[in-house]
């Protein structure tokens, strides 16, 4: 492509190596001024690497970068900022106990000649930007007190305050609720209207369709294609991203539920601030059924899971598995009662990253036969068992049993956890955000696995912040709001909007159920 002033960014023939691993091979990207340009690819495809090269965090081995038609050498992020490039990272870089204003001006403080900060002026300038782009934020609130969506707006404000023309958003929707995603897309459009250019890194097809003008697809470090978003549908995008046709809708037969296996009755749990996070919550899961709990983050899902797994105390109420009460016992007791949990935080609760795959596989079994022989680990038995699971669950690379689990991709780490938990042959499998941060291929795998286990007669409790996931996978959908299940539906009984309304605390009049 020719170098021209029409383009805010042109990256030509970028190659980036990490040791002998080629993260980007001759990748090109041309972003027209005043557009929203999506970069689509699976996890590990090289999207973030490409943007980190543009932002000066990495130096490419080969290739040229042009900004507004001029060749530049971006040695470090300071150079990028000077050229008007701003980046909002997936993990926010904010000081928690500072206010919004303090965070925004950090590094760009306005001060008089005695070094005294002029907070008033800074605050006014920020309010001006807030108004201009509809970025609703309270400039005096502390970061630790505001929602994740708000924090993201602070990050965007921070970039705008520094006068950026090109804004890079790295997986901006990963942490947002559906409503917040809509707000973000609106903000992005406001920015474009003002002549800014936006690059958005994502693997969510729906959001690309909703927000972007052009989309560049990268697969395994290789440039695949650049398309006009209006000309393609989601299936085509997905196919280009993974390299083969994928099913976006989960195929399954109707559930054939059996007897009730798991029952929560009147459960109340307090959070860290001693407030009721779960209030008088009741739910049931039957054998051969997937019950999905849909809700916006922070409505008691975390505490619900912690109470079931006995990481925290239940104030009142009962949790029963096969008739036995398990509340306020121990995590060990829960596992012994054949409840297995895929925790939402893979790296914190699910895996011990420096341990090998084999060591992670036996973390709930290492003290029982045959993996333990007289207090010693039976290493050959553990390795053989792990190799079996690696094969059964298609974990890659397929010779990873003695490698640290840290080296595996997110999707394969999740497969390790799934393999481990399912091989416990649980009566109840709890999956919390099981596809968080996974790419399309891995998501498909996780959903198929859950349905397969349902068909094997297990009871499955799926707790997810992704409404699509609950709608697609669950047979029964329980909506959680403010710590309690506010309503329950069968799959297909109501549409996404209705559930979204309930998730946000709205009320239904009873005839909606019949009408839809």
């Amino acid at each position: 492509m020719e170098v021209s002033r029409q383009y805010a960014v042109q990256m030509h023939g970028i190659t980036k190596m990490f040791g002998s691993f080629c993260a980007l091979n001759n990748v090109s990207l041309d972003v027209k001024k005043g557009t929203i340009h999506a970069i689509l690819g699976e996890n590990g495809a090289g999207k973030s690497t490409l943007m980190n090269v543009l932002y000066g965090l990495y130096q490419a081995e080969a290739g040229e970068i042009f900004l507004n038609g001029e060749k530049v050498n971006i040695k470090n992020p300071n150079v990028a900022i000077e050229h008007g490039i701003g980046m909002v990272h997936q993990h926010f870089m904010l000081v928690d106990n500072f206010t919004v204003t303090q965070n925004i001006i950090l590094g760009n403080e306005i001060a008089n000649r005695f070094g005294v900060l002029n907070m008033k002026k800074a605050r006014e300038e920020i309010l001006e930007i807030v108004k201009k782009y509809g970025l609703e934020v309270d400039p005096d609130a502390k970061i630790e007190d505001i929602s994740v969506g708000m924090q993201q707006r602070v990050e965007i404000l921070k970039a705008l305050y520094r006068g950026v023309d090109l804004l890079i958003l790295d997986e901006p929707t990963a942490v947002l609720t559906p409503q917040e995603i809509d707000d973000l897309i609106q903000i992005m459009h406001n920015l474009i209207a003002d002549g800014k250019t936006i690059i958005i890194i994502t693997h969510k097809l729906k959001e690309i369709k909703a927000s972007s003008d052009v989309c560049t697809i990268i697969r395994r470090g290789e440039y695949i294609d650049t398309v006009n978003v209006a000309d393609v549908d989601q299936e085509e995008l997905a196919t280009k991203m993974v390299g083969h046709a994928v099913q976006l809708v989960v195929e399954k037969t109707p559930a054939e539920p059996g007897e009730v296996v798991f029952e929560i009755d009147g459960l109340t749990v307090k959070d860290e601030r001693k407030l009721d996070a779960v209030k008088n919550l009741s739910l049931k899961v039957r054998r051969g059924e997937i019950v999905g709990v849909a809700g916006i983050d922070g409505n008691g899902q975390k505490e619900l899971v912690e109470a079931i797994t006995n990481l925290t105390r239940a104030e009142s109420g009962t949790i029963r598995i096969n008739g036995a009460e398990i509340q306020n016992t121990s995590p060990r007791n829960v596992i012994d009662h054949k409840i297995s949990t895929v925790h939402e935080d893979r790296q914190k609760r699910g895996l011990i990253l420096p341990f090998t795959v084999a060591e992670n596989m036996v973390i709930e079994k290492y003290r029982s036969q045959p993996y333990n022989k007289g207090g010693m680990l039976n290493r050959s038995e553990i390795l053989a068992y792990t190799k079996g699971l690696i094969k059964d669950f298609d974990i890659r690379p397929d010779n990873c049993e003695s490698q640290p689990v840290r080296g595996l991709s997110g999707g394969n780490q999740q497969k390790v956890i799934l393999a481990r938990e399912i091989s416990n042959e649980p009566d109840l499998l709890i999956a919390v955000q099981p596809t968080r941060g996974l790419d399309v291929g891995a998501i498909e795998y996780v959903h198929k696995t859950l349905i397969r286990e349902r068909d094997n007669g297990r009871a499955i409790l799926l707790i997810s912040l992704e409404l699509d996931e609950v709608m697609n996978v669950a047979d029964t959908i329980d909506v959680i709001y403010a710590g309690t299940i506010v309503d329950s539906f069968q799959q297909g009984e109501v549409d996404e909007k209705t559930i979204g309304l309930l998730m946000a605390g709205g009320k239904l009049n009873e005839n909606i159920r019949q009408n839809s």
Binding site: M17, G19, S20, E61, T309, L311, S330, P331, R332, N333, V334, I335, D336, T341, H343, D345, K348, R349, G350, L351, I352, L353, P354, F355, E359, I363, E364, Y366, R367, N372, G375, M376, L377, R379
Partner: protein, 375 residues
């Protein structure tokens, strides 16, 4: 080139490079202080290797710090920073002296009794730290620093009690001879023993001029036991799991608090063992009034660091450290350079070991440059 890079990436290479750099910096310091570095290092090596007696003394000096190093390394592998090895070591010496002075059984009973009492005392000191962390979340560094001082003053207190104080001295009574763990202490000074050793000059010097004792064997065996415990046993698996990721371990049903307490009990027991063996194996077989810490525990921190917290590595790191400490005295005698120079050298080595993460990243760079040139 490739093999070179691979060698550079091995942890042992980094350590050896660090040691080399330590010597280099020490050489610079020596030159500035007006001493000939060659002569000084010559004196150092002579002080370590020149006579059988020296080698023997290096090993004796290394024994307690191998064990305290093992204590620190073990705790570190389980996610704990045992800065309290000093106090646990002192606790071991106190208990060994109290028991060894009070009782006088036959050696078969007496030796295990005295040594185990030291182990137990160290374990209690360590266990307190672990329990406080597990139960109340009090950071182990704070409690162990406090317990170090408690150990120091407790030791001074015991030295001055009527039961244990040796009149007209600043120390306690020595433990009864039945507690000694030297190699054949009676036989070697007997006429028959002297006659038997005489023909072999080497053995004669080592046996009669130094406190050759069983300590080093126990230290080596302990290093192997700790390695097996950590990497081959279910208990060690549990301890390491808790050390690496407490949250995941808890979620998998492992009792985190109990493991923290147990880890500190074991770490304390190792340091206590070091203290007890120092009492039973080397003169003066007693504790003395201390004005400051004697650093047998703190040196364990350096040993563990040089060893990269590898139990087996602690043996070699302990020997190196013991050699530098002991050989350093000769530098002072022969060249007149102050022992501070040796301390600077030891400090520099530890400092560079702490920086060793640089070496693999340098190796990465070399590798990339090689790859580029190949294109």
């Amino acid at each position: 080139m490739k093999t070179f890079v691979r060698i550079l990436k091995k942890p042992i290479t980094s350590t050896l490079i660090a040691i080399l750099f330590g010597f280099l910096v020490a050489a610079v310091v020596l030159v500035f202080a007006g001493y000939n570095p060659w002569e000084s290092f010559g004196a150092l090596f002579k002080g370590i290797f020149a006579k059988p007696k020296y080698i023997s003394n290096v090993i004796i000096k290394a024994t307690p710090i191998i064990l305290t190093g093992l204590s620190v390394a073990f705790a570190f592998k389980t996610g704990l920073f045992n800065i309290g090895a000093e106090g646990q070591y002192i606790a071991g010496t106190i208990a060994a002296v109290c028991v060894g002075v009070k009782f006088n059984f036959a050696p078969v009973v007496q030796v295990p009794l005295v040594v185990l009492s030291g182990v137990l005392a160290g374990a209690v000191f360590g266990g307190i730290i672990g329990f406080l962390k597990a139960r109340f979340g009090i950071h182990e560094v704070i409690t162990s620093i406090m317990l170090n001082w408690i150990g120091l003053y407790l030791s001074n207190f015991i030295v001055n009690t009527a039961t244990y104080h040796q009149p007209n001295s600043t120390s306690s009574y020595a433990v009864n001879e039945s507690s000694f763990t030297m190699l054949l202490p009676d036989w070697k000074t007997s006429k028959a023993g002297m006659a038997a050793l005489k023909p072999n000059k080497w053995l004669y010097e080592m046996m009669l001029k130094t406190d050759v004792n069983f300590g080093i064997l126990i230290a080596v065996v302990m290093a192997i036991i700790i390695w097996v415990l950590l990497y081959r046993s279910s208990k060690g698996y549990e301890l390491r799991a808790v050390g690496f990721n407490r949250d995941a371990a808890e979620f998998a049903g492992i009792n985190v608090g109990r493991n923290i307490t147990q880890a500190m009990l074991i770490a304390g027991a190792l340091a206590g063992l070091a203290g007890a063996l120092a009492i039973t194996g080397t003169s003066p077989h007693k504790i003395s009034q201390m004005a400051a810490f004697e650093n047998n525990g703190f040196n364990g921190l350096s040993v563990a660091l040089i060893a990269g917290s590898s139990p087996i590595g602690c043996i070699f790191a302990g020997l190196l450290f013991g050699g530098l400490l002991y050989g350093g005295q000769s530098v002072q005698q022969d060249v007149g350079a102050p022992t501070e120079i040796i301390n600077i050298m030891i400090g520099t080595i530890v400092f560079f070991v702490a920086l060793t993460k640089i070496v693999p990243s340098l190796a990465d760079k070399l590798e990339r440059r090689g790859a580029q040139r190949a294109k």
